[in-house]
Amino acid sequence: MTVNSANLSKNQIRMLKTFQIEQNEFLKEIGNIARFTGKFFRTVIKPKQEYKEFLNQCFWIGFKTLTLVGITAFIMGLVLTIQSRPTLVEFGAESMLPAMVSVSLIREIAPVITALICAGKIGSGIGAELGSMRVTEQIDAMEVSGTNPFKYLVVTRVMAATLMVPVLSSLANAISLYGGYLGVNIRGSVSWNLYWFQVFDALSFGDLLPAIVKTFFFGFAIGIIGCYMGYYSKKGTEGVGRSATTAVIVASLLVFILDLIAVQVTDLLGLT
């Protein structure tokens, strides 16, 4: 009995030590990300700006993600409408379908799903690209050539993600509402004009503004995490893979955390 409890105690100590190490690593990582973000703000104001690379990144992050976001948004709108109908029918509120769907989509579903898709596509893309550049010494080569790699690679990508995610989210809003229109008309019959009248009647400034503002933060988080993971990627192909995967996980988690904060702030400001 004594031996068992001693063993248990040893195991507990080992577990506690492991937990402590993990906790320290976690806090260190948060500190490093904060420092990296600080460096971003210090570097972004410095001349000269890399406009060409920024536009190039806007094209890759924005335009090249549009199809994926568009298809997802369309299906999202369609499915949400089809799934919501039976419940509303049960309460005799079928006519409220466009209003309910539009508020759900604009306030929450479209921005968050768009951000999650972007975290997957953009976050992993940036993480893998910069990670691979780190491993093959391309970032060192930029530094040696006198070009600030942080400004050229990180600032441009973070800026592009911060600006493009809201654009993609706004387009996703529109496309998902169109999907909703088709969903409403699968079993019912609502005219184009009536549908949009009901949608805009249900939406207010307080629905639209916070939803758009939070997507800037989502974009920034996706960009900064992708860049951080790639920029400090460990050597080797395994390091690159890990950077890409971690970028997606952390960015997705941050999207939810930021969304939670945004909801609280919106509530405090009385915009709900």
């Binding site: 060192d140 930029m142 040696v144 070009t147």
Partner: protein, 246 residues
């Protein structure tokens, strides 16, 4: 007789990674126009040394002077300016794989040349550097389309584009076949003569060392263990030096 001031001066350099003491009191001097080879075993700190020289890795302590300037005491902009006078050939070539050969070579010009200078002279500079390495025809190709030897030559051309006074080579012949390795070594001597540059070459390829070196520095146990011409070192009876030649 007046002593010529060294173009690269390293004094009492220390660099550790955790408990691994890589460089311990390492010192060396390189005169203008010299081709110095630093020879040492894998993991002996050769690459760390040249990365410290160009400030890609911060040394723990010691003095590092290039072109009479102490790189450790400089601000970011001054370091960038100094780096325009130093070419660096990476072991992995480090060509930007999303850019064409032309864009790879033009990249260092962005920081150091004005827009006007680039408009007027970039094309000529790129073609000149590529012609020096015999690859002018690859100007619009992507790095992925080039062979290992060609990539090395393009990387060398990129390091020459700003006409550097000092060129640092990090294992320039690693991973190449003996014929290409000899071609690259001969090319290094050719460009050194044409650009009147000083070279520090990190290598353990004996053929490359024989072709390129004026002087060889043996980096053993983190220190400058011995330095002499390749021929003299080859005759040495010191067991630590003999290990490299036997």
């Amino acid at each position: 007789m007046k002593k010529i001031a060294p173009i690269v001066e390293v004094k009492n350099l220390y660099k550790s990674f955790g408990s691994n003491h890589v460089l311990k009191d390492f010192s060396m001097e390189v005169s203008p126009g010299e081709n110095i080879v630093v020879l040492g075993k894998s993991g002996s700190g050769k690459s760390v040394l040249i990365k410290c020289i160009i400030n890609l890795i911060q040394a723990d302590s010691g003095i590092l002077k290039i072109l009479n300037q102490s790189i450790q005491d400089m601000g970011e902009d001054e370091v960038d300016q100094l780096r325009s006078e130093i070419g660096f050939l990476f072991q992995s070539n480090a060509l930007y794989d999303s850019m064409t050969v032309r864009q790879n070579l033009e990249f260092p010009l962005r920081r150091h040349w004005s827009v006007e200078q680039r408009k007027q002279g970039a094309e000529r500079a790129v073609l000149e550097a590529l012609s020096d390495v015999g690859l002018a025809h690859t100007i619009d190709m992507m790095p992925a389309e080039l062979s290992g030897g060609m990539k090395k030559r393009v990387a060398l051309a990129r390091s020459l584009i700003l006409k550097p006074k000092v060129i640092l080579y990090d294992e320039p012949t690693t991973g190449l076949d003996p014929i290409t390795s000899r071609e690259i070594s001969e090319l290094m001597v050719k460009v050194q003569k044409k650009y009147n540059a000083t070279s520090i070459i990190i290598s353990h390829d004996m053929n490359c060392i024989r072709i390129t070196s004026n002087r060889v520095i043996m980096l053993i146990d983190g220190k400058n263990y011995a330095e002499d011409t390749f021929e003299n070192l080859q005759k040495s009876t010191d067991p630590k030096i003999r290990e490299f030649f036997d």
